[in-house]
């Protein structure tokens, strides 16, 4: 009896510490029967931002609005939209914010190209500094005969 209790306790303990898979926001009733469409829906859901959660895709958000958006994505796919049309549909209603990856356009040039520009400016600065630095070899010019003579005289005078 005690042994059996111990075994049960041990198993329960093991189960409790086993790593659990990440919780899915997606509810079973949302999943489409067609595995191809469902796969496309999941892929799109990862690129669409939940509009109330700052930086979470609708695929992983438990917000009610995210659920509504997931259902809408599936509805559009079932209606025969291609992936681009689904994205456009949501973008027309929620703006660029709904896209996890901002589109490249004049307003976002700073965002996309800013880091490259900063890197380029830094690189130019380093190159400028290295090229302008006086070379060590130039500094070590040998003394002329006259200079050597004068140096010798000065040193001799000090000794005297």
């Amino acid at each position: 009896m005690i042994r059996r209790l111990l075994a049960v306790g041990l198993i329960a303990g093991l189960v409790a510490i086993l790593p659990t898979p990440p919780a899915l926001a997606l509810m079973p009733d949302e999943i489409l029967d067609d595995p191809n469409l469902e796969a496309r829906a999941r892929a799109l859901s990862r690129d669409l931002r939940c509009v109330v959660c700052q930086n979470e895709a609708i695929d992983s958000s438990n917000a009610e609005i995210a659920r509504q958006m997931r259902l809408l994505v599936r509805e559009r796919l079932v209606a025969g939209d291609d992936d681009g049309q689904v994205m456009d549909y949501l973008q027309a209603r929620y703006g660029d914010y709904v896209l996890m990856k901002p589109p490249v356009k004049p307003e976002t040039y700073l965002l996309w190209y800013g880091p490259a520009v900063v890197l380029l400016l830094g690189g130019l600065g380093v190159a400028f500094y290295l090229l302008r630095r006086p070379k060590a070899a130039e500094a070590a010019e040998p003394l002329t005969a006259a200079e050597r003579e004068r140096l010798k005289r000065l040193l001799d005078k000090e000794d005297a």
């Binding site: 009610e64 609005i65 509504q68 809408l72 973008q91 027309a92 209603r93 929620y94 703006g95």
Partner: protein, 180 residues
């Protein structure tokens, strides 16, 4: 001239400081999104009335009436909607602004009780139990209020409840602008 270059890091630092200060302290709320629908026609939709409520339903055709309309999205389960309600009544009764509603993800009996308890200032209410039309309006939560001009174009979007201080500063100017 060369010495000016030494001030460059200080200038960059000050510039970055001002930018960060602005981002933190200007009262800008990053969760308030600009609506993609401003100056665009209201979405196409047709919603039935709430079951058991006499007010007729709401469709896109009811918005292009030549009159400026406030479209208020509300739900009985939404506490801020309750707080906002007297202000909507005031905008409708005292300012004479046409007010219609979209009842978002609500049970008809709850919505009916809500309207009975707080009075019903809406001339039309569309029931959107699935929240599907809400998505077409680019809704992020309730309440939200849209100012729609006489041609049926969305001119202003207010996210969250209308506070009494915002009537004078935001809502009435937006309505005035839409009347032009």
């Amino acid at each position: 001239m060369r010495y000016l270059l030494y001030f460059l890091p200080l200038v960059i630092f000050c510039g970055a400081g001002v930018a960060f200060w602005w981002a933190l302290d200007s009262g800008r709320d990053p969760s308030r999104l600009p609506s993609a629908l401003i100056d665009r026609p209201a979405p196409e939709f047709a919603l039935p009335p709430i079951e058991g409520v006499d007010t007729p339903g709401l469709a896109s055709g009811d918005l292009a009436t030549g009159e400026v309309t406030l479209v208020n999205v509300f739900a009985s389960w939404c506490v801020p909607c309750r707080a906002e309600h007297p202000i909507l009544v005031r905008l409708n009764k005292q300012e004479g602004i046409r007010l219609v509603g979209i009842n978002y993800q609500d049970k008809p009996e709850d919505a009916a009780r809500f309207l009975e308890e707080l009075t019903n200032p809406y001339s039309r209410i569309g029931a959107d139990p699935q929240g599907r039309v809400g998505l077409d309006w680019g809704l992020t939560g309730v309440p939200e209020t849209f100012v729609v001009d006489g041609t049926g174009r969305i001119r202003y979007r207010h996210v969250g409840p209308i506070h009494s201080s915002e009537v004078e500063s935001l809502i009435l100017p937006a309505v005035e602008e839409a009347r032009k």
